[in-house]
């Protein structure tokens, strides 16, 4: 035991001092110093640390982080020598899981614990497991935009104030990792959400879209105005094969969680309440902010769907499971029928009752525009029976021949309403062998208008007013009229109905149309979606979004080899697109299916791709780091390898191989 001692009284041997910072001791506390030798195992070091701290708590999540090398010392059986650790190393003894503040696709904030030691790919999988989003491989994390962007967003940023905290949630440990297996729901939601009212509220936020949106929200959001700006967001993606800690993400830092790869696998309303909602939200924002451009007609459909979803969401119960509604209808019809049958007193009466189809009879003013006539509206006695409208000169003549009969099946019904002018017209374009004949029906008031309009709509689809949807159609029309009535200057009533329709469309169309022009158009589009259930409507929205030509293209500013100017590279789920930066025209498209191989020269940061028929393409990325581009392409190729076999997990190794570049090796 004899040996030389240092001034501090330690023995001089192969041992040296290692300093480790422990956050739990407080920010001001001196780092711990341990006396170690090179052949001590990491596990041993950690034991010593815990001994020295003398604080009783669960240290199992803690691990050593080597700051200079940005490296987690996770292999507890490795020695310090093996890690190449010397006395100058600054170590931190810190938890592997830390809270982060996530902005979800629906622009709401949530606080969750994320793994800071595993690759982001796994960290995202963990987060998604907490959020109950299947197929986490389609999502990833981005850094929040820089400060200057934030300034723009001051004001009522979407309820960021009420942040939801899911950091305390404990997941059942038995869940298989990355298999995409479904959790057993409890009270209509994943079991871990049902712990407390707070988490239940959180589940509601996740699975029901937010209804409190105002036009200002949309206006305040930064909108990309050019391809170059659209390329900006893609520079912020975190690398999937490195950990959050390695990418300098701090505890409680704000990150965005977004669907990164536009290749949505196996969307299933039964399991995917949260996923579909979040996807819908991302789609909705992409449309509203014109990240994905749409035409006027398409925008009206999106607006109608949003309106519809919003309306249903107000009364939605997230624990309600989707589906089975169709049968429900029939079932109850049958059970009712049964009751009827059992109590068949006045069967014949009833029959008559049931088989008669409601009719509408009223004095309406009718106008048939014709060339060279200046005649205006003329009062007629109008009878609406089944799908046919007949009109007579007067009520007394209703037994005789009508002036005209119009079968509305297949016709076009357009509202022509001006509330302030008390004008409630229905414009009918009725097809006939000779062409379309145009007829205007003018109603006296809202009620009458709603009844006739609803009848016309159903008739156009070949249904009669006996149809069970008739009443709801009438209600729909009335509530839309209500919307129109609320002028934008009027005090905003709390319920969403009164908010007008401006927020349903992108700012461009907010400017282009006055509310009273906009509402009828949305109403028109709404008639085609009014019968959808909440989930169906979201799915329809997603589908409509997917069929936009710009959908699913992630932009990067690149410089092609041999070219002197910047160009845009679009990366989609099946192809690469070379786009002229100035004009926005597609110059060339290459499909992954023709791709032979691709390489990245990390020194000159150039991606080189070889396609069939010896086509070679090489470019370097200007707007984003080279590995982001590389990961995007590799990620899509990885996703295309997914199989329908649900039991099989994902081949994580393959993902890193395809996306990680040299770092993974």
């Amino acid at each position: 035991m004899a040996g030389l001692k240092t001034a501090s009284g330690d023995y001089i041997d192969a041992s040296w001092e290692l300093s480790v910072a422990v956050e739990e001791l407080g920010p001001e506390a001196e780092p711990l110093t341990l006396r170690v030798t090179g052949d001590v195992h990491i596990g041993g070091v950690m034991l010593q640390i815990v001994d020295k701290i003398k604080v009783k708590q669960n240290w199992s999540d803690h691990a050593l982080w080597w700051e200079q090398k940005k490296l987690w010392l996770l292999k507890t059986n490795w020695t310090l020598d093996k890690y190449g650790l010397q006395a100058d190393a600054r170590l931190r003894y810190t938890p592997q899981h830390k809270p982060v503040r996530l902005q979800l696709p629906n622009r709401r904030m949530i606080c969750v614990h994320a793994s800071f030691s595993e690759p982001v790919f796994r960290a995202v999988a963990g987060i998604c497991r907490v959020l109950s989003i299947r197929h986490a491989e389609e999502l990833s994390l981005l850094r929040a935009p820089e400060e200057k962007d934030k300034k723009k967003r001051k004001g009522p940023v979407l309820g960021t104030e009420d942040e939801f905290d899911l950091s305390g949630v404990v997941l059942p440990a038995t869940l298989p990792f990355l298999t995409g297996a479904e959790q057993q729901p409890f009270r209509g939601m994943p079991a871990h959400f049902s712990d407390s009212p707070a988490t239940e509220a959180c589940y509601r936020m996740l699975s029901v879209s937010w209804t409190g949106l105002t036009p200002e929200h949309v206006l305040k959001m930064p909108r990309p105005s050019s391809l170059v700006e659209k390329a900006q967001i893609n520079s912020r993606w975190l690398s999937s094969s490195r950990s959050l800690m390695q990418q300098d993400v701090r505890e409680n830092e704000q990150l965005w969680l977004r669907f990164k790869y536009y290749n949505f696998f196996d969307l299933e309303p039964k399991y995917d309440a949260v996923r579909i909602t979040q996807l819908y939200e991302q789609a909705r924002w992409a449309v509203l902010l014109e990240e994905t451009e749409s035409t006027e007609e398409e925008m009206m459909v999106f607006a109608a769907l949003q309106y519809h979803i919003n309306k249903l969401s107000l009364s939605a119960d997230p624990t309600e499971t989707a589906g089975e509604q169709g049968m429900d209808d029939l079932d109850s019809a049958l059970s009712n029928l049964q009751v009827k049958l059992e109590g068949g007193t006045s069967t014949s009466d009833m029959l008559e009752n049931l088989t008669t189809i409601p009719e509408l009879k009223d004095y309406l003013r009718i106008f048939r525009p014709r060339k060279l006539t200046l005649k205006g509206y003329k009062q007629h006695w109008v009878v609406f029976k089944e799908t046919t409208i007949s009109y007579y000169k007067s009520r007394e003549e209703a037994l005789g021949e009508p002036v005209q009969q119009l079968n509305l099946k297949g016709c076009e019904v357009v509202p022509d309403v001006n509330i302030s002018g008390q004008k409630f017209c229905i414009r009918l374009l009725v097809p006939s062998p000779e062409g379309m004949s145009e007829v205007y029906l003018r109603c006296e008031d809202e009620q009458q208008y709603a009844r006739w309009m609803a009848g016309c709509r159903l008739a156009a689809k070949g249904r009669t007013m006996a149809d069970s949807t008739y009443q709801s159609e009438v209600q729909n029309i009335l509530s839309f009229l209500q919307l129109q009535r609320a002028s934008p200057d009027a005090p905003v009533a709390p319920d969403a109905e009164a908010m007008g329709t401006q927020w349903l469309v992108s700012p461009r169309y907010q400017k282009k149309f006055k509310p009273k022009q906009l509402t009828p158009r949305i109403l028109e589009a709404h008639q085609n979606v009014a019968q959808l259930s909440l989930t169906e409507a979201k799915m329809r929205f997603i589908q409509a979004w997917q069929s936009l030509p710009d959908f699913g293209i992630s932009y990067f500013v690149v410089r092609f080899k041999g070219s002197r100017k910047d160009e845009i590279l679009g990366i989609a789920n099946n192809r690469l697109i070379r786009i002229d930066l100035a004009v926005g025209d597609v110059v060339k498209t290459w499909r992954y299916s023709n791709m032979r191989q691709w390489n990245v020269n990390w020194d000159i940061r150039q991606v080189a791709i070889e396609f069939d028929e010896h086509i070679n393409v090489a470019f370097s990325s200007v707007s984003a780091r080279c590995n982001i581009v590389h990961e995007y392409i590799g990620g899509y190729i990885f996703l295309s390898t997914r199989s329908n076999d649900k039991g099989r997990g994902l081949d994580e190794e393959l993902f890193y191989k395809l996306t990680g570049g040299h770092e993974a090796l």
Partner: protein, 662 residues
Amino acid sequence: MEQTCDDIDEMFSNLLGEMDLLTQSLGVETVQPPSPKESNKEYNFTVGFKDLNESLNALEDKDLDALMADLVADLSEVEQKTIQAQKTSSHCPQSEVTQPSTGVCAAAAYDYKSNVPVTTTGHFEDDLPPPPPDPAFDLPLPPPPPDPLTQEELETQAKADKIKLALEKLKEAKVKKLVIKVHMNDNSTKSLMVDERQVARDVLDNLFEKTHCDCNVDWCLYEIYPELQIERFFEDHENVIEILSDWTRDTENKVLFLEKNEKYAVFKNPQNFYLANKGKNEGKEMKEKNKEFLLEESFCGTSVIVPELEGALYLKEDGKKSWKRRYFLLRASGIYYVPKGKTKTSRDLACFIQFENLNIYYGTQYKLKYKAPTDYCFVLKHPQIQKESQYIKYLCCDDQWTLQQWVTGIRIAKYGKTLYDNYKRAVQRASLASGWANLATVKPAVTAGSSLTDITGTVQANGQILQSIPPASLEAQKHTEMTKDKKSNDVNGGHSVQPTSQPQTYQNKRASLKPPPPQRRSSAVSSTPLQPAQPKRGSAVFTSDPVTFPPPPPEMAEDLPPPPPDFCEDPPDFVPPPPPTCSSSSEDLLPPPPPPPPASVSNKPPPVTKKVGPPPPKRQVNTERTEEPKSMGLPPSGGGSGQPDLMSDLMKALQKKRGNTS
């Protein structure tokens, strides 16, 4: 009129003679059953022809031939149904109680039906009383007898609404029929009966059977408007009667049966449409596997991908004679154009047209007709428009290939995945064709649809018919059956007419296994022509009947020995046997052998289970073609639309109720 009737009469005897020949050629000695024949005739005159007269005048002889074949098929089924009716009625005393009322009701319903104004289109419409409607009317009725007047007051308006809904659905099942004349390649024509639920695919299948063509996927029904000089092929999922009912009465429009490569070109070479650059790559080759990937990607995702398509087309301005060149783009939501001085970014595009209520046609020889720049034109119009009108949009492409791209692209945008499903079905059908043909030569009964089998069917009334009849005509038969039922046996018939009540009666049968012998016997006899030949067959034969019934309530199946293997063997050997004894013995009361079998038959409701057996051959065909059930009371015919469900649910409800009351 008289004339026609006579003709028909004559044809009938011819037919029957032919049947004789045929049955004889099968090596079976057949005695023509006189009574069925008569009743058949009667039926025809009273029901069918009354309505048909007018249009029949217009038909040529060979059309009539074809038509007759269809009708004959119907007739045979009528017999079956009658038998069924008798049997069921005789088997269940309880239902007998209800019979009077139901019978009357059915008759009323029937009358109503036949009086329904017929909207005749194109050719003519056959207003056979469709089976489903009857149930609609009878439905509320059956129950009252058992348990009348209870808690009527408790019912709310809401409930009434629901019932209305149910009834409306039932009503929709009224079956309209139309005989259409299809022009063949060789300038000949064929007439065939189309019922209002048949889609183009069904009609094509019928035509395949009638023409013995190669059944490849390119065959299509092709609609031609000589007046507008436009034409197009029907998509396989389109309802034929619906399309034809848009034609005017005096129309010159025609339906052709021909091959069009364009119909499914996109699925054979998707690369030409999805990967082509500016129309240059036509004919580029691609590996099959890659094609599959491409199709999968384009059609099987969450939303269908519409081929990217844009370019300058000529547009004929509304009502003007000039053609103006504009830059058009195709999107899933419609066709757009770039307004003057704007760019082709999404926000600047102006909508030219959207695809609801719109069909796309080829315009032919428009250079001549409208002074179009080229003859490669396409036309968009509302299906109902039949004359020239400002609401028809005319567009003209530079070349044939561009035209094809646009037409295909628009179809994809309009129909989406349906198109791909249609294609897959067509391919399936085509690949079946060869095997089908083989089968046909071996055992025609199974292959179905040929007039031969139809005829034999008539003769034997029972057994194999169920297999020999193509679902379509099976449907038709059902019709006739019902009517005949009513004629020959009003009370019972009336009862049996309601498919709904049938399972119920079956149940009863089980419950009270020994119903009045005489009645049953007669029915049993006629229904089991095979017995003498092979007593064991009895059950097999019997199975045929159940086939015409709605799916048995689950419980039944339980007490029945399910003999699927049995069935498998049956068809082959029991095809020939029927003729011998069948009809001859049927009406005169006692050929000694029969009695025992019937008894066994009645003892074994098993037939019901067996029923499980028979459908397969037929069902195969069915699933291929039908989207809608043939009729409400029918066997679970392939496609599952609301109706069968509804019916079986109603059944359940009824049974449940019965359980309660008893």
